[in-house]
Amino acid sequence: MAHFTYLGVLAFCLLGTGWLELLLRTRVYRRALRLLAAIVPVLIIFTAWDVYAISRNHWSFDSRFITGISVIGHVPLDEVCFFIVIPVCAILTLEAVRSARGWTVGDERVTRTSEDTQ
């Protein structure tokens, strides 16, 4: 089970933000295409950073706590999951704050005025 520690932390993040979709009606998972399109470039850039950092030994992983599956350039599967889960959580948080507070984010269909930048 120790091998799932890293993934367990990510599962905690998904559970911790998942309820926002239901109770704050963030409609992020519902807009799956936009979610996917937003995450892919981030995933590519940060995985590339990870490949470089691991190759230069900036950081390394304790093999007891990760799945042991590598994706590319010694990047653990766990890390790739991180670059998917954290962006999802970030978007859910932004949309939850918008839902709760009604603040503008910048994608509203309005003519841009000074009110737009709150």
Binding site: A37, I39, I66, C89, A90, E95, S99
Partner: protein
Amino acid sequence: MTYTELAITAVVLVVLFDLFVFRTSLVKRKVFWVSYSIIISFQLITNGVLTGLRIVRYSGDAIVGSSTPSHHAPPFFGDGRIAFAPFEDLLFGFALVLLTLVMWVWLGRLGVQRTPMAGPPHKLVSRLLRTQDASEKSQ
């Protein structure tokens, strides 16, 4: 480049993307800073687990602080660390989160699933939020 140099570069680049490339101007919006302050609180907890348990270890050559010790946890605070993690992780996280949100908002502006928009909250929550607003006003 060291992790420190890369992390600072990433933050500068992503802020420039936000302001001048994608023109989402999230760093000028209250909604971003409130969201980010929520995210950073949870980052300190989850990243504290990953770094405190030494699931992820850092080389002293790449960060301002020292290497993750091999037989015990790194300092909770000090030696370039905040909640066990190198402070560079906060810059990394900021760049990751801001870039994600820039992409999300930019796509919405382009018309990629701009709707259905978020909100309003479920009745249970909106009742709670209203109570909170009322108590803020009364203070």
